[in-house]
Symmetry: C2
Subunit: 385 residues, 2 copies
């Protein structure tokens, strides 16, 4: 097995669970929030800062890395872990989402996706086999199957066609991994991605076929792309109800603190999102009590840390006033310090949720957090926080 | 005394010297290269990274900090050390250079400099007294006297007028510090700046007056502004020959490795320059064997560190190929990692020069470094370095 999941606890009142996922690059405590290193770096941060933030897994983007510097370069340099100096687990996406959102002139067929690179306009083709080969070449610990994503709102028959193609591609990806394994490669875990939009019946139909395949885990795809939040959460609950108990469940692209806790309560083990760090680079961070727009002039003389309850490097050492100054002055250190807090905060939130599951009080934890967060958002400047 | 210098050794063959400068915020080994934190941050770096690089003093820019966030904000937050989280020594410039290079509609009179802020166009006035008050408000360890700088090439009589005004302002700055001390403030050291362009006679005349004033140290001003390098070095040697033995000598704005060693050999104790870090942010770093343009495609698959002889975090952990990728991909981490090397390299070079002085072999050290550096610059890509 390329990956094993040991479940330590189930919350008595929700579907939340706590476990440990063993990968080729160490143990990952679940649930886990994965920082996103799109281009082989979590923007502005070093591997050591991610470790200090508590990360034991991160996500890297196959499409970006294959475009630049190229999988051959990464492989020649010893694989992605060595290339980026990250010794712990890496999950890569399939590249499909980026092909469909960034590349130009894309044409999807049963064979795969034809597209032009957003960097140099060169013609490329991504098949489900190639997606697996690239991820293997990067040396990932957890690869994702190529899937077809459709944007909301989507007609039921379009969702069905995408789901059918996703199933077809899933089979071919698994076969390619088998072929690689015959060659002594392909040692990574491979996850299938369930699709079907917000049609429960469609998602069920999709999973009837995916669930019969020997995937190491399953992802919940095609949500948080424009549809209503409550509907998304229903689909998360629906999919988790279908997924096998003993394999990790990964909800893609969800990173708002409240969404994260709602997803955990429905049985999700892994999440990733660029939202917290992207916001941070723009001068807004999530804190225990809400959302804090630190670049605002209101913080210009505020001696308090970003988050009074946080013990990250930034909160331990610097004031809101200093961060506000760095943003006002265009100093990159501001982005860095805010990113350190953002990553630490999200990983810490999920880690605290894990502890709550272990102690059988996840529902209470979630409710207390959400109530406080909702009342505090957006924080009143100075004095009131 | 706000500052004491203890000299441990003089090189037998040059004017180079090694010592320890005691400040209100700790001991500074001299000679010392000071990283520049223009706006209250050495661009992209944290205080801890500067400490790891070996820094025990840095420079901050009075003009920038007074413009934004303002000296009152910094003082209310406990002073610049606390504001930026830097516990060691800080030297501030007077603000004069920036007023004369950045501000608009500046008008210089014996009273001071009238100008418009480059940020908001507001009308300001910087007098020699105000320059001292602002630096005191920031809580600096070493303040600089307001001086008038003229650009090369400059007519002898313009250089003389500037030198005369500099002397006048120096007296007034010292008086202001006395006044502050009567109020229980003004505890910082204050350096006078010698001017006179590249006219030895003018510089001598300027120093005849400055040298009679109770400054804690002296700076060599008005050089490296367009004139010939050999002439600048002559002026450095000239000034150091006049300066009192027991006080620190600061050569402003010089940071090319070869220039730095040439200046140390003429008796300089302190230097600062944005060049190494500015270059680094643009993808070029000084290394032991020359100058390395790491953003070049030639390094795309080079597994070696930036500098094979460097033990900084960047060189210990990352390849040229990774840095090249980060620059190509526009990842800010590239600027950071290159800056870490740049600061470590410059501080390390000066620290090694210090050791050479202590061991009586500075001339040999300088010659070996320069010969190697000159032959290696710019490094041939891959294989040849």
């Amino acid at each position: 097995m390329a990956l094993t999941l040991t479940l330590d606890a189930h919350d008595p009142e929700t579907q939340a669970r706590a476990g440990r996922m063993e990968t080729r690059h160490g143990e990952v405590l679940t649930p886990a929030f994965m920082p996103v290193g799109t281009q082989g770096a979590v923007k502005t941060l070093t591997p050591d800062e991610l470790t200090a933030a508590g990360a034991d897994i991160l996500l890297a983007n196959t499409y970006h890395l294959d475009q630049r510097p190229g999988v051959d370069v990464v492989r020649a340099l010893g694989g992605l872990h060595r290339f980026m100096g990250w010794p712990k687990a890496i999950l890569t996406d399939s590249g499909g989402f980026q092909v469909l959102s960034l590349a130009e002139l894309r044409k999807v067929s049963d064979e795969g996706v034809e597209f032009r690179s957003h960097l140099d306009g060169s013609r490329k083709f991504l098949s489900p086999e190639e997606a697996v080969r690239i991820q293997d070449g990067l040396g990932t610990d957890i690869a994702m199957s190529l899937d077809e994503l459709v944007e909301a709102p989507v007609a039921p028959d379009a969702a069905r066609r995408a789901a059918e193609r996703t199933v077809l591609w899933a089979e071919r990806g698994l076969k390619e991994r088998e072929r690689l394994r015959d060659e002594g490669r392909g040692g990574m875990a491979l996850f299938g991605i369930n699709q079907g939009g917000v049609e429960a019946a469609e998602r069920r139909r999709c999973f009837e076929r995916l669930g019969a395949m020997p995937f190491d885990g399953y992802a919940i795809g095609g949500l948080w792309v424009g549809e209503e939040r409550s509907l998304s959460l229903d689909m998360v609950e629906h999919d988790c109800g279908l997924f096998p108990e003993g394999r990790p469940r990964y909800l893609m692209g969800v990173g708002h603190p409240v969404d994260v806790l709602d997803a955990l309560g429905r049985g999700v083990d892994l999440l990733d999102c660029v939202l917290p760090t992207r916001n941070a680079r723009r001068g807004t961070v999530f804190v225990s009590t809400g959302r804090l727009v630190v670049k605002n002039a209101a913080y210009a003389a505020d001696p308090r840390p970003l988050d009074l309850e946080c013990d990250c490097y930034t909160c331990a050492r610097f004031s809101r006033a200093y961060l506000r100054h760095l943003f006002a002055a265009g100093e990159l250190l501001g982005m860095r310090l805010a990113s350190i807090h953002a990553v630490t905060h999200m990983i810490g939130l999920v880690r605290r949720a894990r502890r709550a599951v272990l102690e059988g009080r996840f529902r209470e934890f979630r409710e207390a957090f959400v109530e406080r967060f909702r009342s505090g958002e957006t924080l009143a400047p100075s004095g009131a926080a």
